[in-house]
Amino acid sequence: MPAIVKELHREFAGPTRFMEVCGTHTMAVFRHGIRSMLPPGLELVSGPGCPVCVTPAGKIDEAIALAGKKGIILATFGDMLRVPGTRSSLEKQRAEGADVRVVYSCADALKLADETGKKVVFFAIGFETTSPTIAQTILDARRTGKKNFFVYTALKLIPPAMRALLESGEVKIDGFMCPGHVSAVIGTKPYGFIPRDYRIPCVVAGFEAYDILESLLMLVRMKKSGKPEVANQYCRWVRTDGNQRAVEILNSVFETSDAEWRGIGVIPSSGLNLRKEFLEFSAERFVDSGISAPEEKSGCRCGAVLRGAVKPTDCPLFGKKCTPDNPAGACMVSSEGTCAAYFRYAGKKKNG
């Protein structure tokens, strides 16, 4: 057993629950088989850090409607393709003839607009890691005078969601593993309110097995010492101030707004909207009003899973009516959804 795991077992001092707020962390924990190395009583809960999972079904319905419009190419990250809206998904719409293209980068969507001359709408989902890339692409579109490139945004911010979870008090959390790549952009300061207002320690964590184990050790130590603060484990990529230039570019194109998180509800100042001067790039003008109100499949507990209140295995649909092949909710479809990770890496057992 590696030395770091031994240390973790030695320093561990009793039932503890840490939350990792990042779909990529959820996946990494499973991929490395981390849970099989943890001391019993150290519980890792997943939070709402999967941007695909927290996109409201209504937004997906609207994206699907956009994709179906004549003359529009809907460009999307691969993750969104199979996410279920109320009645359909982008993948199913593609099978019905909608022009849906998977892109790796927002810049590729702009290139598509260039090459095809058709209207390209980029379905922009993501957190602070991704938002600056979209902001930069919009600046590039303006600079090159593109008139056929649009974005349909569902971008969100992480720290407000963490605050909302803490405010609700629904789940007792002893510490946070903060998202490493979001933090590469925003730095470590935005999490300062957590130890300050809630006396809970935070560690900005990387994604290799060692990074995660070391971060857990740091959290365990801070919990023991009673001196919570924001610590940085991912120093090779995360600076205290993050990437100021990326943040400035982001703020020049977007402004904060209230946003709806699937399963959680509206969280104030947790989303990003295009600033007035960039509204020419908004795809809202193509969206029909009056899309019927979406309903979640009965029994689906994605919301509670996203808040860390229940485990996927507590959802009545998990593994039965809801599987990666036949997903009922976003948590199962997204490659980083908590339920998908559980199913993929831990099967139907309770512990990974």
Partner: protein, 78 residues
């Protein structure tokens, strides 16, 4: 929440650059960074470089990784 991997800058062309990831080459956008030099390592996410590496921290991490994964660990981090 975002898949990002280390990439080495091979050639800079204004706002884009040629990057190398263990033999895989790709053109990436570097507009979110300033004062980038050839040979530097950046964090690549969705086609954009979002941060430069801190070499000292990286070397320390590599040392720690090798203790866990064994001396042959080629360093996915760099």
């Amino acid at each position: 929440m975002c898949l990002a991997i280390p990439a080495k800058i091979v050639k800079i062309n204004g706002e884009t650059a040629e990057a190398d990831m263990a033999g895989v080459r790709k053109e990436i956008n570097v507009a979110l960074l300033s004062d980038l030099k050839t040979g530097e390592f950046v964090l690549l996410h969705a086609g954009f470089a979002i941060q430069k590496i801190d070499r000292k921290s990286a070397m320390e991490s590599l040392k720690a990784f090798r203790e866990v994964y064994g001396p042959d660990f080629a360093g996915k981090i760099v």
